[in-house]
């Protein structure tokens, strides 16, 4: 673990640079412990895949003390030796057609049928590594390498809310209509983010997710 200064208002705690469930589990544990600690001056703690961003007010923060606190909390993380089992959150998906305009192209590129893409996408339990891009946008991994797809060179100007996409070995759901470059294979009616809910985001870092094909909507 290494702590790096990002300007005068953020520290970045770096773990091993890898997209790895155990590294990410430690990242999430550290972020949670730092948040609970409510250190003076800390405005926000944001976990990434393998980094934790600690945003602080430079005038309210004793930097040496904050770095000490991070090191102290991090010491306990060696106890995080396994990834906790979690009940998967199920997200119903209508695959293909207007809901998943890239499904056929993904299938063609993967050299399989659209039904195979659906089966492979829905077969895995994904881990939510981090949220970003938009409120409630979860970066999940990893998809079956056979259906891993590069982003569109030219992003769409408008991707409908609820669209389920693939980018590289990641999969994700667009919480609101926005521009986007992911390969769209389906769409869900699940509300990914609602600031008025007690838990605004359907998914939080560390969650497990399964996509469930909705019956009667096979392409």
């Amino acid at each position: 673990m290494r702590i790096r200064e990002c300007g005068d208002a953020m520290l970045l705690v770096e773990f091993e640079p890898a997209i790895d469930p155990l590294v990410n589990e430690r990242v999430i544990a550290l972020a949670s412990r730092l948040r609970d600690r409510r250190a003076r001056g800390v405005r926000d703690v944001a976990p990434g895949y393998c980094t934790v961003g600690v945003h602080f007010d430079p005038l309210q923060t004793d930097l040496a003390a904050l770095e000490g606190a991070i090191a102290e909390e991090a010491r306990v993380l060696n106890l995080v030796a396994t990834v906790a089992a979690r009940t998967p959150v199920e997200i119903g998906v209508s695959y293909g057609g207007d809901d998943g305009p890239d499904l056929d192209a993904v299938a063609a590129r993967a050299g399989c049928s659209p039904a195979d893409v659906i089966e492979r996408h829905a077969a895995r339990t994904y881990r939510v590594y981090m949220l970003g891009f938009m409120p409630g946008f979860a970066y999940m991994g990893r998809v079956d390498p056979s259906i891993a797809m590069p982003r569109h060179r030219m992003p769409r100007e408008r991707v409908p809310a609820g669209s389920v996409g693939i980018a590289g070995e990641q999969t994700g759901v667009y919480p609101v209509a926005s521009p986007g470059g992911w390969q769209l294979i389906g769409r869900t009616a699940s509300v990914m983010f609602d600031p008025d809910r007690s838990q605004p985001s359907l998914l939080v870092p560390g969650d497990c997710v399964r996509f469930v094909p909705l019956a009667g909507r096979r392409p």
């Binding site: 790096r4 200064e5 990002c6 300007g7 005068d8 208002a9 953020m10 970045l12 640079p17 890898a18 997209i19 972020a31 405005r43 926000d44 703690v45 944001a46 976990p47 990434g48 895949y49 393998c50 980094t51 934790v52 961003g53 945003h55 430079p58 005038l59 981090m130 949220l131 970003g132 891009f133 938009m134 409120p135 409630g136 946008f137 979860a138 970066y139 609101v176 926005s178 983010f193 600031p195 605004p200 985001s201 939080v204 870092p205």
Partner: protein, 316 residues
């Protein structure tokens, strides 16, 4: 407490409700937003007797026309505009009293890019996740998460500030569409050619027309990288200077996303970000390298300035 309203007659170019920002939810991907020039926002609040976190209106380049349906106190801080209330000129950087039904009209902009309209009690649109700040891309906060339009009505208190600070305050604004911003290098300056930092500190960058509240795209010499590819996406903060593959830097501003995968050659210091917020597309900026210690000293100096104004209020 009796309520009044601000009725937007003309919205101006890009006017939005902002407070200090929506901190505490970046783990869920919720961007912070908030003012592009936080010092002017805070001063506007101070002048009308508000807490720093009260919501102001951020006005951009072309100001609005507003009928103020409330007896209240108003202050305009930041970019210098010619502005009048019912045809009589109003001062910049000082508070003034407005009677119910008076019309506040912005004219020509003289200096800077963004002004903040502080109003006694703050703009009372609904708070979303603890903040009234508008984030335009995710359509959150402010009024329906968008810029203001003609016909909008914003709730405010109908009560002048009990102890407004009337004295005009000195403003720090870029002159001639140029600003020098201090930068602390890192954390990925080792992704760049050894002389990239030197290059960056020796030239002017032009703010591209494709810039907005999320970030400024900077046109200038490319900053040559020695490492290709991207980082595994990591949290980012305001002021980060990230450099995509093509080498054209982007300075992340108030509406930045919470995370990004481009390497960051440096960060503009907190004390100078408000100055960046007073630049517009077509303006120029230069970078000067500095240490974190210098950055904190500069911020303390700015904070002392704000505190001095607060002392003036206590003495009045």
């Amino acid at each position: 407490m009796s309520l009044g309203s601000l009725q937007i007659v003309k919205p101006g170019l890009l006017t939005s409700v902002q407070d200090l920002g929506r901190y505490g939810h970046q783990a869920l991907g919720v961007p912070v937003a908030g003012p592009m020039d936080v010092f002017s926002h805070r001063l506007a609040n101070q002048l009308v007797g508000n807490d720093a976190d009260a919501a102001t209106l951020e006005v951009t380049l072309i100001g609005p026309e507003i009928v103020i349906e409330a007896e209240t106190t108003v202050a305009i801080v930041g970019a210098v505009f010619e502005a009048g209330c019912d045809g009589r000129p109003v001062p910049m950087g000082a508070s003034f009293t407005v009677r119910r039904g008076q019309r506040l009209k912005f004219g020509r902009i003289v200096h800077g890019a963004r002004a903040y309209i502080g109003i006694a009690g703050g703009v009372l649109t609904a708070s979303v996740l603890g903040s009234r700040a508008t984030h335009l891309v995710s359509r959150m906060g402010g009024l329906e998460g968008r810029t203001l339009r003609a016909g909008d009505r914003l709730p405010v208190l109908a009560r002048p500030a009990p102890r407004p600070l009337r004295k005009a305050v000195g403003l720090m604004l870029p002159t001639g569409g140029r600003a020098r911003l201090r930068v602390v290098p890192g954390p990925q300056d080792d992704w760049f050619h050894a002389d990239a930092l030197k290059t960056m500190a020796g030239v002017s960058f032009r703010i591209s027309p494709r810039s907005n509240r999320m970030g400024y795209r900077l046109e200038g010499p490319p900053l040559a990288r020695i490492r290709e590819g991207e980082l595994i996406s990591e949290p980012v903060g305001m002021g980060a200077i990230q450099v995509p593959g093509a080498g054209e830097p982007i300075l992340l501003m108030a509406d930045r996303q919470t995370a990004g995968g481009y390497p960051k050659i440096g960060h503009v210091i907190s004390a100078d970000l408000p100055l960046a917020g007073q630049l517009a597309p077509g303006d120029f900026l230069e970078f000067i390298l500095c240490s974190r210690q210098e950055a904190v000293s500069a911020l303390i100096a700015r904070e002392r300035q704000l505190l001095r104004y607060a002392d003036l209020k206590d003495a009045s």
